[in-house]
């Protein structure tokens, strides 16, 4: 079984983010890393492919500046190869433009199963995977907290408001995973060494049969008009507990008429 996993490479979320003052795009300078949310999809894909008795796990990523750091991390976990779309015309892409690129790249891998995270850490629109599925004409099951594959179909426990649903879907299909789905492995030293030699196919927008006006800021058909600091909440009273802090809480709740 062949699995394609969407992996986003993002600025380190621990560093404070910023938007470019002119374009209002997220600043994506410096080294990008594998979005933690996608490490679950990579792990799940590796386990499912192994379970199915073989097949390849292909990573698919769209990122600026031919960035491969995040891809190398996922290759070190065990993925076989990667497709990277990097092109100046992609700057300022919206979710739909991104989905068009990812869908075209995924097609080349001819996967039985496509995986993505429910939402990315930096942009978190959470709509890209459903857009990809629609563009590829695939069924999809989002918010998976458990996935099993057997005999041409995928069985997913899908998170719901009330609990979860057991959903069955014929392959090929797209599934998005939540953090709880599986415990991602740490790349081993051997894995890290092996990753250096694994193939990363570098593509441009035109290689995918897309025209530059469908993607990037030209295709986005939306603009950020301004960004402002949100109203900040101020700290109130800070009390160091000396054995009676609970009384302060009760007094506060009484004052609010909650008690």
């Amino acid at each position: 079984m062949n699995v394609a996993v969407c992996v986003k490479q993002i600025p380190d979320p621990a560093a404070p983010g910023s938007l470019h003052p002119d374009t209002k795009n997220l600043v994506r300078e410096g080294k990008l890393i594998l979005d933690d949310s996608d490490s679950y999809g990579v792990e799940m894909a590796l386990q499912l492919a192994e379970h199915a008795g073989g097949g390849e796990v292909t990573l698919v990523s769209m990122a600026p500046n031919e960035e491969t750091s995040g891809l190398r991390t996922a290759l070190a976990m065990g993925a076989a190869r990667a497709i990277l779309v990097s092109d100046e015309t992609l700057a300022g892409s919206d979710a739909l433009g991104t989905a068009k690129v990812l869908a075209a790249a995924i097609k080349r891998a001819e996967p039985d199963l496509v995986m993505a995270a429910t939402e990315s850490t930096d942009g978190y629109t959470g709509t890209t995977p459903a857009q990809v599925a629609e563009l590829l004409g695939l069924p999809s099951v989002t918010f998976a907290k458990r996935i099993d594959v057997s005999e041409g179909s995928v069985r997913v426990e899908r998170q719901t408001e009330a609990g979860y649903d057991e959903v069955e879907c014929p392959l090929p299909a797209l599934v998005t995973v939540t953090a709880g789905v599986v415990e991602p492995r740490y790349p081993s030293f051997k894995g890290i060494m092996a990753a250096k030699g694994k193939p990363v196919e570098q593509l441009k927008v035109t290689d995918l049969g897309l025209s530059p006006d469908q993607v990037g800021s030209a295709g986005a058909r939306q603009e950020v008009t301004d960004v402002a600091a949100a109203e900040e909440r101020k700290a109130g009273e800070i009390v160091v507990d000396e054995g009676d802090a609970h009384e302060r809480i009760i007094a506060f709740l009484e004052q609010l008429k909650v008690l």
Binding site: G17, E166, A173, E223, V224, E237, V239, V258, L259
Partner: protein, 323 residues
Amino acid sequence: MAIDKVWVVAESSGGAPTSLTLELLTKARSLGSVVEAVAWGGDVASTAGELGSHGASKVYDLGDLGDALPGSRVAAAIAAQIQAGNGPDLILIGTSYDGRDVAGRLSARIDRPVLTNLVDLTVEDGVPVAHHAIFGGTQTARSRFTAEGPGIFVVRAKSFAAEPAGGPAAEVAPVEVPEAGATDTARVRERHVEERTGPQLDEADVVVSGGRGLGQAEKYEMIEELAKLLKAAPGASRAIVDAGWVPYAYQVGQTGKTVKPTVYLACGISGATQHMVGMKGAKNIIAINKDQEAPILSIADLGIVGDVHKVVPKLIDALKARA
């Protein structure tokens, strides 16, 4: 682009529209002159009253979808209406499990972009402007579409207060759901409902949340006991949801629920931006954290620098003594 007709994708649960749906309808009234809902399930007619009182003059009834996941079919049905020239100028969809599926699929089907994670929507010079809370709610970005509609807006829960306007029941208009082919082949085999008692997390007046500072899964019982005494809903940080201590339904934050209670009591939660974006709207915040530097204390109205294992049991005993 003048906004005339607004559609709201109306989800329901247990025969009643969800609160998010009613929030969207309330907002829709202030945006367009005609507000209509798109709904599905076996009992749309029974929701028409409430949809109507919140502003919908009509509800397009897609019928019972059976075991199908809604995303593909609902998107196909809306796209068909748009292609037939019956579409709206603007579509409001809630940030929910199914809502995001509908938004994504509809966007690809009609080749229109989406604006997501809205916390407000205003109209400026006749143009809808989306407001997004970014970087953990420290900044607000405003954005808009630059091309022809219909504009698809995906709105976070609790962005607006739901208020009935007292209109008559919405007229129920059955519509045909077109074949959606391979995209519509996922089927629900079994639905599992996790039992919960007490008020719902996103509707409770008081929320008591626990985080990694509790130390171990068993200690969450303390949070549940405290919540019960305060008639509150128990909540959690993602750290302890991911650790499997409590179900995902308890999670507050960017990837969980947005809550706006009168009181939010955070126990052993550091206050990561992704957590705060889900609870900053609380009227009052109380936080217990042993680390004076914890970010949560910088937004708390009452911040207790202390050990949850000491403060919470005493609080529980004191509340029991009052009962």
